[in-house]
Structure formats: C-alpha cells, structure tokens
C-alpha cells in the first residue's frame, strides 16, 4: 500500500501533540509502519504548529510536503487556509471554525480574511467544518477541541471504534478520560 499522510495543524498550545499521539496509536495497532513528526520549542508559543502523521507498509520521510496530505485536520480556520496547499487535490479537510487572531492582525498590520469557510468549500477538497470549541465546552472544557476533531476524523475514516477508545485510554490521563470520551462522541456525531 502507498504511504498515506495526515497533517494536524493549529496554534501552539491547542493540543496537537495529544491528537498526533492518539492517531499514531490507532495506526500502530493496525499493524502499519508509522512516523509522527512533532514541533517543540519556540514555535509552540502561540505560533503556527504543524504535526505530520504518515503510515503505510514502509514509511521513510516523517514530513509532509505540498500536495501530499490525504487528510488535513485544522484546529483553527486561518491555519486551515494556510495549510490547504499541503492537501492532495480532492483530499479531506477537517477544520474547526474557531478563529484566533495572529499577532499581525492584533497589531493591525494585517486583516483576518473574511468568509474562509465559504472559500474553502469552493476549493477542490472535501471540507468538513465543525464548531469544535462549542462542542468541547459542551463536553466540559474548551481544551478538548482536539479530541472533538479526533471524533470527526473517526467518522470520516474506517478504523474500528474500539481501537479509538483504546488509543484514548492510552493517551489521555485517567482523570480527564470521561470528559474526553464525551468530546470524542460529540465530534463523531458532528
């Protein structure tokens, strides 16, 4: 099988490391060769962050380049627009509709582009836009947006349900597990 690529993008501090570890565990349990590439250090401080997950019979490069991703999962709308070129034509784009102003917008040096959901829906990709923040707050905390989006991903892919549950149990601290399971379910139904 050809190597497949998933990109997780967002703003530093939104929890992309946890999301990539959940997906990595799901894929590992399916017997694939897996590579996950993370970002640490300076970029984590509120900057754009990108995590790559690749799987297949044999994975070489841990990174994803333009036109290579089968799925892009974005925790923030502007980041979805930024990373659109990494998606293959016709690929799946799953994005939260949450908007976080980057510093150039805060300082007035740039504007947050308008109507991004509409523009993304017109691109040659399969778009799913979800209000992950509200669903996460419904589950109990805004911090669970990442797991809401894992639920959306689960609904858009065909890995067995119990594998996701096991991965959640493995990656999420026990005291937050129930809350995150709820967030995952809300994402699946979104």
């Amino acid at each position: 099988m050809e190597t497949r690529s998933i990109m997780i993008v967002g703003v530093g501090g939104q929890g992309s490391l946890l999301a990539s570890r959940i997906i990595g565990n799901v894929l590992l349990s399916q017997g694939y060769d897996v590579k996950v590439s993370e970002v640490h250090g300076m970029s984590q401080r509120g900057g754009s962050v990108v995590t790559y997950v690749k799987y297949g019979e044999k994975v070489y490069s841990p990174i994803v380049e333009k036109g290579e991703a089968d799925i892009v999962i974005s925790f923030e709308l502007l980041e979805a627009a930024r990373c659109l070129p990494y998606l293959k034509k016709g690929g799946k784009l799953i994005t939260s509709t949450q908007q976080i102003d980057p510093m150039p917008v805060i300082t007035g040096a740039a504007e947050y582009p308008a109507d991004l959901v509409k523009k993304l829906s017109e691109a040659d990709v399969e778009l799913t836009a979800v209000d992950a923040l509200s669903l996460a707050e419904e589950a109990g905390t805004a911090k669970a947006s990442n797991v809401v989006l894992m639920g959306v991903l689960a609904a858009k892919t065909d890995f067995p349900e119990e594998i996701w549950q096991t991965a959640l149990e493995k990656c999420v601290p026990a005291k937050f597990l129930e809350l995150n399971k709820k967030a995952f379910e809300l994402g699946k139904k979104a």
């Binding site: 990595g24 640490h40 250090g41 401080r45 490069s61 930024r82 102003d101 300082t107």
Partner: protein
C-alpha cells in the same frame, strides 16, 4: 516490545539498554527530551547542569571513574562545551562517553544553523548520525562500543527531524555493567604539555584505526538497486527523503558514521556510476571529503545549497523535475509568528522598556520574543549570556550617556548558564550597567526544566536553590532590587531609578511562568463595551488574548489568565 518512540526517547532507551549510569546535560531544543526521558529510568543518575561545559566535564569525570556516561546538548551548546571536548579527545575514556549534539536545520528554535560535524572533525572524535528512532537506540549502543574499543568520546549527531519524529522501536533489556576499575594514570589524564604530546600521537593513530573501522562497520551501508540511474551518498534525515523521493531509481551509500568517513568504500561505490549526487543538509562535508580522496564525479551543494532543510519534494523536483499539484486559496493569509503567552510575566517588563525607549541587550529564551511586534523592545540577541557582557562592552564604548539608557535582560536559567560571569565583569571592570534578570522560576522556552534557582532537581526532588539577590551582591553589585512585572507602574519606576543611579545595578523581575502547573490564575477579565472607546492602549501590550472587534477591545476568555496588566493599562476602566 514494539513502541512508537520520539527519536530523543529512543536515544534515552539506548542509554538505558547500553548500561549508561551517569547523565549530565543542559536543555536545548531539539535535544532536551533525551535527558528528560533518561531521568525516568531509576538505574540512571540524571541531572541538569548549569551549562553544557559543566555537563560535559561531569560526564567525562564519570567516564574516567569507570561508568558509562552521557551528556546532551543542542548544536550551540557544543560551542560552550568545546573546551572539554577537544581535550577529552586526547584523554580518551575509561567507561564509554557518548555526547549528543542536536543540530537545528531550518532553525526551528535556534539562533544559528551551524553544522556540528565541523566540531567532530576539528576535535578528532568519531561522530555517528542516526536517521530514525530505531537507529537512535542502536547507534547509542554502537557509540558506547566504539568509545570503549577506541578509547575516545563519541558524538551522536541528532537533527530536529530525527529528534522530534516518532517511529517504531523494538526495545531490549538493559545491559547491567560493573564500574570499570579506576587507576591513576597521569600520562593519559593529566593534559600538560609533556603528556599531551604523547596523547596527540595516540589521537592520530586512533583516527587511522577509525577510518579502517568505517570501511567495514555496519553503520555505513550500501543499498544497491538494479534499476539505479545514478548513485546517492547521504546521511541522517536526508537518507529518508532520498528513499522516499527516489526509491529504486538510485543506489544509496548511507553514512551512519559521519566522522571519520570511509575512503575505499566511497571510491568503490562512486566507481559504479557516472553520476554521484550527495544529499546532505547544511555544509558540503561529505562532498569535500569525496574530492579530498580523489572522487570527483560528485555534485551536491551546487544542487541543494547549504541553507535549511532538504525534503522529498526538493529532491524530486531538483533531480527528477517532478512537481506535485496542489490547491491554494486566492487569499492573503497573515503569518502567525510565536508570541509571548497570555499572562507571560515578561510582557509587562518589555512594555515598560519600550515605553522608556531604552536600548535592550537581549539573550536566549522565551523573552527573545520581546523583539517581536508590537513590543519590539530588544536591540541584540547573540548567544547564552551575551546580554550582560555585551551591554558592558556597549557601555564602555559609548560611555555614561549610554549607561543611563540601556539595560541587559536575561532569564534565570540563562543567568546561571553564563550570565553571572558577565556580571562579575561589570562589577570588576566597573561599568555603570543595569541588568534585569527575568526570573520566571523555570527554564521556559525548552519546556519547563528545573535549574539551580528553582529549588528542585531534574527528578523534581528538593534541591539547594541559588539566591539571586545574595549572589548578585556577593559578586559586588550594590544595588539589587526585586519587582513584580505584573505591576507596570512599580516596574517602570524601578527601571527609571536604576538607570539614573551612578553605580551598576540588578533588577530581578520576579513572577513564575504563567504556564507552570502550580500557578493559580485569576478569573479572566472582560471588556465593558459601553465604556471602551477603542483607543487601543491595551493592544500595545501584544497580548494574544486581546483583539479588536467592531472598534472595541475583546478579551478571549479561553486564553486570558487574569494577569491584569491590561486593566492597569486601560485608563478609562473599561477592563473589568
């Protein structure tokens, strides 16, 4: 057991399995997790040292004592530790000594893009370079064998991509080793001229033996393809990009040992093809080696250059002329640079410095972000500790006019690393400089490591804490005071007073990092839209939680931690 492991985690696993006993490091992205993960094994003693030089000397001492030892650092850290490295190359080891140096191709989190292979060449020590997590584990074990068999420290070179990518590792049991016997041996360990001359001869002989080893060792591997159109010589992360982009269209010589490099192995490989492409990130070190040994059918840097990372797309495009198709929006997407977090204690301080218009000699840490808009408060950032010594030189050059309007800013961990020697210079050589220590009670940028000021050690256990006020006074600074950067007026007044004073002074701007788990946050503030006049005074703070919507300020409740500096800044009381 098969496990997905970060390269750094697999490296630590290699230390564990190889029977390493002593670890001493200084944090630095992308090397930090090696030591954090090693500390999780009870069989390994692991510590954060104040800087890389101390760490390497500690590890060398442990090696001389007979233990397998390790120290880890980022590429620029090896510059700090270069002094012990170059002489440890002469003394050699007793128990194996392995050093990790993590380069940062692409400068994801660094101030320069130096290629650490130059240090291995100049210090005449072997250097291995893994390409994925499984190799990290395996190469650490190989490095200990080389270290003990050839009597040399061994460097394992990491890169951001190898260190911070997870791939599958099949773990093994630990090899439990007894301490090697220690016997006094001044000819080997006392490096004064008479003995060092003898050891230099040994070093040159050792290099010859290492080249022979490189010819046949399993670290260097030829992967022949029957359908090869040309040959590729590569190393580290670049090997993965080559395999992905070119597959069976090339034969590959993968160099796992990048210093010293084999000669006959390369000649034999290069003789098989008309064209040899060398795919190596940063400097053209393999390429230069090929030409030195008379292999001239090579090209590399003329294709890929020596800046930043290489990737599979760049290889496919430059060597095969293939480009992938993709979709783009016809929208101007603003950049999203890293910023100081909401509630960051550094923000208030930098706001005051900007307001006062002072020249700021900066340093390495989260607070380097004070250079970014809208605060733009920092004038220089060079290397660990340079803020203080650089300010002293700046003031000596420009005299008292400059002394009253310039400061140095440095974090608590960076001050312990190499800032205090600069402060000694200020006291000893008498410049009227003002130094601000940004004490956020943690090493922030690398992800919250303890340091000698925090009262805890690497394992989180209680430890002696350096008292910064007493230390500065002991150095000879008479004016030392503490401010809370959450109080803008108090902070601004303190800076003004110390700049006006006619002797050197230290201001300790003290407030723990807002991301620390034990820090209790206040409820988020909000904006009274009826009162807000849209003057944007709060926006001058550059807080990521505040934005303007419909000409009124809005505070994002998910980000705000209630630090209150925007409330102090809002003169009309619209923030409540």
């Amino acid at each position: 057991m098969k496990k997905l492991m970060l390269g750094n985690e697999a490296f630590a696993r290699g230390l564990y399995e190889a029977g390493c006993k002593i670890v001493s490091s200084y944090p630095g992205t992308p090397s930090t997790e090696i030591t954090e993960e090693a500390a999780k094994y009870d069989e390994i003693y692991a510590e954060w040292a104040p800087n890389e030089k101390v760490a390497m000397e500690t590890a060398l001492g442990a090696s001389i004592a007979g233990a397998r030892a390790f120290c880890g650092m980022k590429h620029v850290g090896l510059n700090v530790a270069a002094d012990p490295l170059y002489t440890a190359a002469y003394t050699g080891v007793n128990g194996g000594l392995v050093i990790a140096v993590a380069d940062d191709q692409g400068m994801h989190s660094s101030q320069n893009e130096q290629d650490s292979r130059h240090h291995a060449i100049a210090a005449k020590v072997p250097m291995l370079e893994p390409s994925d997590s499984a190799e990290c584990r395996d190469f650490v074990k190989a490095a200990y064998d080389i270290s003990e068999n050839f009597d040399t420290p061994v460097i394992v070179r990491m890169s951001t991509r190898v260190a911070h990518s997870q791939s599958i590792v099949d773990t093994c049991e630990r090899m439990e080793l007894e301490l090697k016997e220690y016997t006094k041996n001044p000819q080997k360990y006392v490096m004064m001229p008479a003995f060092a001359k003898g050891r230099h001869v040994f070093v040159e002989e050792r290099t010859k033996k290492l080249i022979e080893f490189a010819e046949t060792c399993e670290l260097n591997r030829v992967e022949l393809s029957e359908t090869a159109e040309f040959g590729v010589i590569t190393n580290g992360a670049a090997y993965q990009y080559v395999k992905e982009a070119l597959g069976e269209r090339v034969s590959v010589l993968k160099l796992g040992m990048v210093n010293p490099m084999p000669e006959q192995l390369i000649r034999d490989f290069a003789a098989k093809y008309d064209r040899i492409v060398i795919v190596e990130e940063l400097d053209g070190i393999i390429e230069a080696h090929c030409r030195n040994i008379g292999v001239n059918n090579v090209e590399g840097k003329s294709i890929f250059g020596c800046i930043g990372e290489i990737n599979q797309s760049a290889i496919a495009e430059k060597l095969l002329g293939v480009k992938k198709e993709f979709t783009e929006l016809d929208v101007n997407v603003p950049v999203r640079p890293p910023v100081m977090c909401a509630g960051c204690p550094h923000r208030g301080l930098f706001y005051c410095l900007k307001k006062l218009g002072v020249t700021v000699s900066g340093d390495i840490g989260c607070y380097t972000l004070g250079a970014a808009a809208p605060l733009t408060a920092i004038d220089t950032t060079i290397c660990m500790g340079a803020s203080i010594s650089g300010l002293h030189g700046f003031n000596k050059a420009r005299g008292s006019e400059s002394e009253h309007k310039s400061v140095a800013v440095i974090g608590d961990s960076t001050f312990m690393h190499s800032g205090m020697t600069g402060l000694v210079n200020i006291a000893y050589n008498n410049s009227n400089s003002t130094v601000i220590i940004l004490d956020n009670s943690i090493t922030g940028m690398t992800g919250h490591q303890q340091n000698p000021t925090t009262g805890k050690n690497l394992k989180g256990d209680p430890a002696a804490a350096v008292n910064l006020e007493e230390l500065c006074k002991a150095i000879g600074i008479k004016r030392v005071r503490v401010v809370d950067p959450y109080h803008l007026a108090e902070t601004e007044a303190a800076i003004k007073e110390e700049l006006a004073a006619d002797v050197a002074s230290v201001i300790i701007s003290r407030r723990p990092c807002a991301l620390l788990k034990y820090v209790k946050h206040n409820p988020p503030f909000k904006v009274d839209a009826d009162k807000c006049v849209g003057c944007k005074m709060c926006m001058k703070l550059g807080c990521p939680a505040i934005s303007i919507k419909d000409k009124k300020a809005v505070i994002d409740h998910t980000q705000c931690v209630g630090c209150g500096i925007c409330k102090e800044q809002c003169k009309i009381g619209a923030i409540i």
